[in-house]
């Protein structure tokens, strides 16, 4: 980051400083913010692959263990992108240290960009770490790298923005945890991380298509195997639409000073 320090111009220094602080905040506790989600993902992999491999073949010619990995990467990437912005905001609100940012000339847009960018970095770092560990055990092909990167960034951005919204709205840690446990967890588990929705009864297939997480994971997985439950272009449109809607809401909240400025 020191090299970046030199390159940054006066105009961008405020935004960059906040971004850097947000990145260092999770990096300082990387054991908790990077290593621990990687370990959890590997445990899922170990347990599910042992229990199910050989019993299920989701896509033709794709081992279940290999099928599982993009889903697990995306699940952890999404959860950690959300956790980064939301926990930082709730913590600084509870501790009161949010005033250090509110007293500065940073605009709501700069605030948004800094938090969002740090969330994307955290999500991608967790995702990449899981991939790098997993390929020691399982052969995972990369068919379309651009789709992987696109859905990785879009997914992390979407959840980073959702984390900003949840972080601003929540006054306490347990309200934020409720978002995590009652919204994010169910939506991820029911999105096809562990299965293809084609294996579900027709009714649940339709329900799944209302779940934005399904599109993020299916598009991401398409990048690895070159096949998915639906076309990645459809996923791209749906994910982008959700992203824009949440960004609109988050910016509206930030602009009005909702729960931040009285």
């Amino acid at each position: 980051m020191n090299m970046l320090d030199q390159l940054i111009t006066q105009k961008w220094r405020g935004t960059y400083t906040l971004f850097k602080k947000e990145v260092l905040r999770f990096w300082r506790v990387a054991f908790q913010t990077i290593a621990s989600p990687v370990l959890s993902a590997l445990l899922y992999l170990l347990i599910f692959s042992h229990a199910l491999s050989g019993h299920v073949e989701v896509y033709k010619g794709v081992e279940y263990t290999a099928f599982l990995i993009p889903g697990l990467i995306m699940m952890s990437l999404l959860q950690n992108a959300f956790a980064n912005s939301s926990s930082s905001l709730v913590q600084s609100k509870v501790m009161g240290s949010i005033v250090f940012v509110l007293l500065t000339p940073l605009t709501y847009m700069q605030f948004f960009i800094a938090f969002l960018a740090a969330s994307i970095i955290r999500g991608l770092m967790v995702g990449l770490s899981i991939y790098l560990v997993a390929i020691w055990f399982v052969n995972v092909p990369i068919t379309h790298f651009v789709w992987i990167l696109t859905f990785g960034i879009l997914g992390a951005a979407l959840l980073g923005i959702f984390g900003i919204i949840a972080g601003i709205w929540s006054d306490k840690f347990d309200q934020m945890a409720a978002f995590q446990n009652f919204v994010i967890m169910p939506l991820t588990f029911l999105s096809g991380v562990f299965y293809s929705i084609h294996s579900l009864p027709h009714f649940w297939q339709i329900i799944s298509k209302f779940n934005p997480f399904f599109y993020m994971i299916d598009g991401f997985r398409y990048g690895f195997f070159g096949q998915g439950d639906i076309s990645p272009w459809i996923s791209l449109v749906v994910v982008t639409a959700f992203l824009l809607a949440l960004a609109w809401l988050a910016l509206k909240m930030l602009k009005s000073g909702y729960k931040l400025r009285g």
């Binding site: 006066q10 400083t17 501790m95 500065t104 400025r261």
Partner: protein, 301 residues
């Protein structure tokens, strides 16, 4: 004519049914050391938070160095350094990192590090520069908060009860530093509960009560206007001659305190006592202080 450091015009702030600021008008000139006094709940912090942009005024206008705090908030906040009342801190970073971040939010880069180090040294934080904020004592956290407000070298500095819970030594150190900044041309606005502090430091004070400014004058004028000297007498009897009763502030067990509008009244009091053959056992002339002004303005009556 230079622009005022802070100009507040008819500012109202309502929180639901609570009318916290009721049309505050106030101008603080550049280079002043200004005191804002008042009991808890008078609206001091609300006013400061409104200047700082943490709260938005319901109506009225505020500007810092000529920049409106709502319409031109970036320029206004650039000019302002605020020390918040609560001991808030970010538990992830050490003192020097926090100060550099704070300067960075204001667009300051490496060129500002010299100043940051100077602030660290002057506030006695050098030993703690690499200590995590979480591990600092209360007094050290307070110093770090002041340092954070100064990190971008703002022309106007606002301190919201900076000495609450601070020991004497640190208070001295802080005031020396703030006085130096003021001498170098920074405008200082201070809210405090310690009246003697305001008396010693501030050239002008405003007193607030229930969301309004009830007195605004130079410290010297306020002292003269509201609180002359007091004469405390210990007498050999339990009653005061009737002619002295209009001057009586309080009296019990033969000790009476008389309010003097000028020193000539001492003569009058003594001659009246002599006329009534009252024995004076002890006598003391007491200087007035802001506390008297404060009590007469915001106290019970």
């Amino acid at each position: 004519m230079t622009v005022p450091a802070i100009q507040i015009e008819q500012v109202h702030k309502r929180f639901g049914s609570l009318h916290a600021l009721k049309g505050v008008d106030l101008t603080v000139n550049q280079g002043e050391f200004f005191g804002l006094l008042g009991p808890n709940g008078a609206g001091k912090s609300t006013l400061i938070n409104t200047i700082a942009g943490l709260l938005r005024p319901t109506s009225g206008k505020i500007s810092v160095m000529g920049h409106d705090v709502v319409d031109d908030y970036q320029a206004a906040r650039m000019a302002l350094g605020v020390v918040p009342q609560e001991l808030v801190f970010d538990p992830f970073f050490n003192v020097r990192e926090m100060l550099r971040f704070q300067a960075g939010y204001f667009g300051r880069g490496k060129e500002n590090d010299v100043w940051v180090d100077e602030v660290i040294e002057t506030l006695g934080l050098t030993d703690k520069a690499h200590t995590n904020m979480r591990k600092l004592s209360g007094g050290m956290k307070r110093r770090a908060l002041i340092a954070q407000a100064l990190a971008h070298k703002p022309p106007v500095i606002v301190l919201d009860e900076p000495t609450a819970g601070v020991d004497v030594e640190l208070r001295q150190l802080m005031w020396e530093f703030i006085k130096r900044l003021n001498a170098e041309g920074h405008t200082v606005i201070l809210t405090t509960h310690y009246l003697e502090e305001a008396e010693a430091l501030c050239s002008r004070v405003a007193m607030m009560k229930q969301g309004e400014i009830v007195a605004l004058d130079s410290t010297a004028n306020l002292l003269n206007k509201f609180a002359g000297k007091n004469l405390r007498l210990k007498l050999g009897q339990a009653t005061l001659p009737a002619s002295l009763l209009p001057m009586l502030k309080n009296g019990e067990n033969g000790v009476f305190t008389l309010a003097l509008s000028d020193l000539g009244q001492v003569e009058f009091a003594l001659s009246e006592l002599r006329k009534a053959n009252v024995v004076i056992e002890d006598m003391q002339l007491i200087e007035a202080d802001l506390e008297d002004v404060f009590l007469s303005l915001v106290g019970g009556a």
